[in-house]
Amino acid sequence: MKVTLEVKPRQKPYLPIEAEGIVPRTFFEGTDSLTVFRGNKELPLEEIFNVAIEGEAESVDEVEIIILGDSSRIKRVGEYMDGGRIHITGDIGMHCGNFMSAGEIVIDGNADAWLGREMRGGRIRCHGSAGDYCAAGYRGEKRGMRGGTVEVFGDAGDFTAETLAGGSVIIHGNAGDLSGVDMKEGELTIMGDTSRACANMSGGMAYVHGTVNDMIPTFRKIGQEKVNGEPYTRFSGDIANRGKGTLFIRNYKYLD
């Protein structure tokens, strides 16, 4: 089954649309009355999107949703997704793939903040850049993302993989400040630069293939090790937090 949702122009284009109903299961199970919210107004899906559904599906995994047009202010797409595929051809709004447990989301453009928040499984690939709190947790929760993979081909914002507790996060570009902050388990890989990586981490593993600026001063230097033949410094910490995380860093600078 192929579901094509084309975003229509809106009178107030900046007002976000909350569309947690846009997940493959909704269309697999069939719906006549799917609604989305523009602020406090509940609207039929068709008021925001041109909707086209082709073909049938035997399982949720056979459903593909394609989002066309300006979806940069459409929030919560793919929330609780448990199978199938969502392909976003442009940018996507906040909270894409919240709590996702299976399936795949592909974003051709940029993703706004909280991409893959508290994700449990499945895979998100963002070909543009991701906003703050990519693959992170929620306010007050000790554990954030617990499984699955988030891969960002551009840059990621601040607090990337905050409270990461499982799964893997790969940022091909640079990550913002405090990436991997308070992480507990799981694996974070940053191909570019970041700052203050893995502050207060208690466990897990992180690789920074570029430079960490303003390196947190409370990581213990274990020594030089080769990663893919290149020299890296291995750290353990965060000592301030009785942490036992491991950090491999190509280059780093302290704020001294």
């Binding site: 903040a113 909280w114 906003g131 914002g157 607090f159 913002g176 400040d177």
Partner: protein, 130 residues
């Protein structure tokens, strides 16, 4: 020249917070406190005007010599002047960067706008029936 901008409360700003159309409020919130050595480097006298430029815009302020500051840092009291150039970005925390912002400073002959002129520049309308 590059500087680090911090904003914050001052007692004078606080005293005028209920009197925003007063000259005192204007004078305090359009002040740019700066280390005397930096003033010299900028070829400025105490009380002359500087243009402060951030990634978000620029504003003309009055330079005030102040030795509390480290060289390379300026301080502007909380108010519409500082906010004219503070980026509205919050890093998704809800709180903008009111402190620790990189700016460029240069001497200028231009006059300061008033706080009302700043508001009118963005579509506001001053209230004058005082």
């Amino acid at each position: 020249m590059k500087f680090i901008l911090n904003t914050g409360r001052t007692v004078t700003q606080g005293r005028h917070v209920e009197h925003k159309y007063h000259q005192g409020y204007f004078e305090e919130t359009s002040s740019c406190f700066i280390h005397p050595l930096d003033l010299m480097d900028l070829d400025l006298e105490d009380g002359e005007h500087v243009e402060v430029v951030s990634e978000w815009g620029s504003v003309v302020l009055r330079a005030v010599s102040c030795e509390d500051l480290r060289k390379g840092m300026i301080f502007v009291p909380l108010g519409p002047f500082a906010n004219h150039i503070i980026p509205p970005r919050t890093h998704s925390t809800g709180m903008p960067d009111f402190k620790n912002i990189t700016v460029e400073l240069a001497r200028t002959e231009r006059e300061r706008l008033t706080q009302w002129e700043l508001m009118e520049k963005i579509g506001g309308k001053r209230y004058e029936n005082q």
